[in-house]
C-alpha cells in the first residue's frame, strides 16, 4: 500500500487543524481525496484475517473497497471527536481492484441533521482507479459525538 497523500484538514496557519465537529461540517463540501495502491502485503494481511475469502491472485478482494473507504474517511476527516458511531452503510461495488491499481477515494459531506438530539452526518466516499473507472461508491451515516 502506498503512503497516503496529503489531504488532511490543516488550518490556514499550517498548525494542528481544529477538531471536525458537527458544526464544522459543510454539506456539499469535498474533503479531498486519498490515493492508495493495494499491494500484496495488504492482501496478505487480509488473507490472514479472512482465510475463507476466495479471490483471484492478481486482484484485491472485493471487500477491500471497504478498507479503502474507511482509510480515506479516517485520513480526510481528521481530527474527529472521539466516540463517533457508524450507524448505517450503503455501498455499491464497481470495477474489480487489481494489485497495482491506484485507487483515489474522494470524501464529501452530503448531509447533516439533528434528530432526537443526535447529530447525524452523512458522508459519501467514491473510489476510482487510475483509469477513472468507478471501483466503489459508499455512503456512511454516522452519529457524530460533538
Amino acid at each position: 500500500m502506498s503512503g497516503p497523500q496529503p489531504g488532511g484538514n490543516p488550518d490556514a496557519c499550517g498548525g494542528e487543524p481544529p477538531v471536525l465537529t458537527f458544526d464544522r461540517f459543510v454539506v456539499g463540501k469535498s474533503y479531498g481525496s486519498l490515493t492508495e495502491a493495494p499491494d500484496a502485503a495488504l492482501v496478505g494481511h487480509w488473507r490472514g484475517l479472512y482465510p475463507q475469502d476466495e479471490f483471484p491472485a492478481d486482484c484485491a478482494p472485493p471487500a477491500m473497497a471497504t478498507v479503502l473507504m474507511m482509510r480515506a474517511y479516517m485520513h480526510l476527516l481528521s481530527p474527529r471527536p472521539p466516540g463517533n458511531i457508524h450507524a448505517r452503510q450503503q455501498m455499491t461495488l464497481g470495477a474489480p481492484i487489481r494489485l497495482g491499481d491506484s485507487v483515489s477515494t474522494e470524501v464529501e459531506c452530503v448531509g447533516k441533521e439533528l434528530r432526537r438530539e443526535r447529530r447525524y452526518v452523512t458522508v459519501r466516499a467514491r473510489g476510482t482507479n487510475q483509469h477513472g473507472v468507478a471501483c466503489f461508491d459508499g455512503v456512511l451515516t454516522l452519529i457524530w459525538a460533538a
Binding site: F55, M70, R71, P82
Partner: protein, 134 residues
C-alpha cells in the same frame, strides 16, 4: 441465479482480529483497541469495528454467486448492535420477494448485529479496466 437461502459465513472475533483489522484500516479508535479506555465508555468494553463484520456480507456475494457478481453488487445495512471480543458472528441471507436479499450478521446468541439488504451484481464478461460503475 436465484438462491433462496444463502450459504453462511462465520468468523470468531477475538482481540487479535480486531487489532489486525485496525492495522489494515488505520482505525485505532480506542473503543476498538484499548480495553482500559473502552471500559470507561458507554459500551463498557471493547467493541469490534462494524465493517469487520460487514465484510462478511461482501464475502457472501462471492461465495454464493461467484466473484463476478460483486461487480455492481450493493448493500444497505445498519449496524444494529456492537460485536464484542469473544463473539462468533455469522453472515447469512434469504431472498426477498421483490428482489435482492435480506442479509444479516448475527452473533452466537442469534442476535442481529447487522441487518439490511443486498443486491448481487449481474455477472457480465469484462476485460481490461472495465466494470460497471456504481
Amino acid at each position: 441465479m436465484n438462491i433462496k437461502s444463502l450459504s453462511t459465513i462465520s468468523r470468531d472475533i477475538d482481540m487479535a482480529a480486531i487489532l489486525a483489522y485496525a492495522e489494515i484500516t488505520g482505525d485505532f479508535n480506542p473503543i476498538h483497541v484499548d480495553p482500559a479506555f473502552a471500559a470507561t465508555t458507554a459500551m463498557g468494553g471493547v467493541i469490534a469495528h462494524g465493517t469487520l463484520s460487514m465484510n462478511l456480507i461482501w464475502q457472501l456475494v462471492s461465495a454464493n454467486f461467484g466473484i463476478e457478481a460483486c461487480n455492481g453488487a450493493s448493500i444497505d445495512i445498519r449496524f444494529a448492535r456492537p460485536v464484542r471480543v469473544g463473539d462468533r458472528v455469522t453472515a447469512g441471507g434469504v431472498s426477498r420477494p421483490e428482489g435482492g436479499y435480506d442479509v444479516w450478521v448475527r452473533n452466537q446468541e442469534d442476535v442481529a448485529v447487522i441487518e439490511g439488504t443486498m443486491q448481487p451484481g449481474k455477472p457480465k464478461a469484462h476485460g481490461g479496466q472495465g466494470g460497471r460503475e456504481p
